[in-house]
Amino acid sequence: MKHPSDDDLILFFYGEAEDAEAIRRQLEASPELRARYETLREVLEAVDDGPVPERGESYGAAIWARLQPRLPERRKPAGWGSFSLDLRWAFAGLAAALLLVAGFVAGRLWPRPEARVAEGTDGRERILLAAVADHLQRSERLLAEVANAGTADTAVLDAERAWAQDLLAANRLYRQSTRQGGRPRLAALLDELEPFLLELANSPLEPTGGELEDLRRRVEEQALLFKVRVVGERLDQQQTL
């Protein structure tokens, strides 16, 4: 057998050399080859040094808590699942209309937050809220695009994926900042938005029509677009006061 190359030694280290016995004999016979192999072995063993971050016993439960709201409904043999598609859309439309009315009424009855902003907000909070308002408006445009897209055009999906990646990083930052800044409801909305951004950001390069349809359906069912729009507009108005 020819003198083993570094690549042969790598395969030998992993137990995948074609002629392991011949390499073993050459290693025994050649101190120079043995030294080369020893260095390779030490390097590869050093790669084992990094400890994996610990996850506690309740980690599975923590995954589930974050995952469960994102899981699509399983079709049941009776009840909602047995409705015709048209009827289900009618129900969804009715729910959206009720939500709209509820949002309007709540907006009229609840104390207007801008008073609090005007009184107690310092410069940093103003900057944060302006940034969140801008973030929500950009997220709204993305969600609208997803909700209205008719086909799975690869170029469009690529652009949406890149867009979602940008928004995802910002969303995490704003979610933490708003929570720390005593804005739990705003943080909750960003929390709700995050799984959608995450899913879009990590969507397969060629998603199936079913996957896209599922995403659109969930955007609609959770009235996410509507919520993001309303809160984004409100924040924007606060900034211009």
Partner: protein, 189 residues
């Protein structure tokens, strides 16, 4: 255990949410470990865990039971992590900079060298391309054969081998001087 899991998978396929939750709890840590090795970043690994279970849930109907559920999940986790790495690379190409890898705090003096090795390993791993990193992690940490790796990533055998060779060469370039320092340090004691 295996037959028990088969029953749980069957229940999950039939729409039993509690059964799927049990699968998540059984396999969550293992999926995280794999995703962390592949992505090198805790937050990204957490995203990959979520995405893996979400895809598994949606695809349960297509799980034919020929392999174990854990093996099937492993495949999904590898593909999800690989996609995330590729997206991260594209983002880095757009000049947005890589995700910062947290480096461990320096320990006491006697640990300083091994901390340095650990930091260098992480940094060298972060410099691998998505394909090199995925192939190397699967071979080195997960003990998958090259043919399994090629099958999983849809590569020709020569391409899989070359990805691993390139990864080892890159790691060697930065780690070899350190390994030699460690060796001479140990010899002097």
């Amino acid at each position: 255990m295996e037959r028990d899991e088969t029953r749980i998978v069957e229940r999950a396929r039939a729409g039993d949410g509690e059964a799927f939750r049990e699968l998540v709890e059984r396999h969550g840590s293992r999926v995280f470990r794999l995703a962390w090795r592949l992505t090198g970043d805790e937050e990204t690994a957490e995203d990959a865990v979520q995405e893996t279970f979400l895809r598994a849930y949606r695809s349960l109907g297509r799980f034919d039971g020929r392999s174990g559920f854990g093996t099937w999940l492993h495949r999904i986790a590898v593909n999800v992590s690989y996609e995330i790495l590729r997206q991260r690379e594209r983002r880095d190409d757009r000049g947005e900079g890589p995700i910062d890898l947290p480096s461990p705090e320096p320990g006491p003096d006697r640990r300083a060298l091994s901390v340095e090795v650990e930091r260098t390993v992480r940094s060298a791993m972060a410099d691998l391309s998505p394909l090199e990193r995925t192939a190397f992690v699967l071979r080195h940490f997960e003990g998958r054969s090259i043919s399994e790796i090629c099958d999983q990533l849809g590569l020709r055998p020569s391409a899989g081998k070359q990805a691993i060779f390139r990864a080892v060469r890159k790691l060697r370039r930065v780690l070899e001087p350190l390994v030699q320092t460690v060796r001479s340090h140990e010899a002097s004691q």
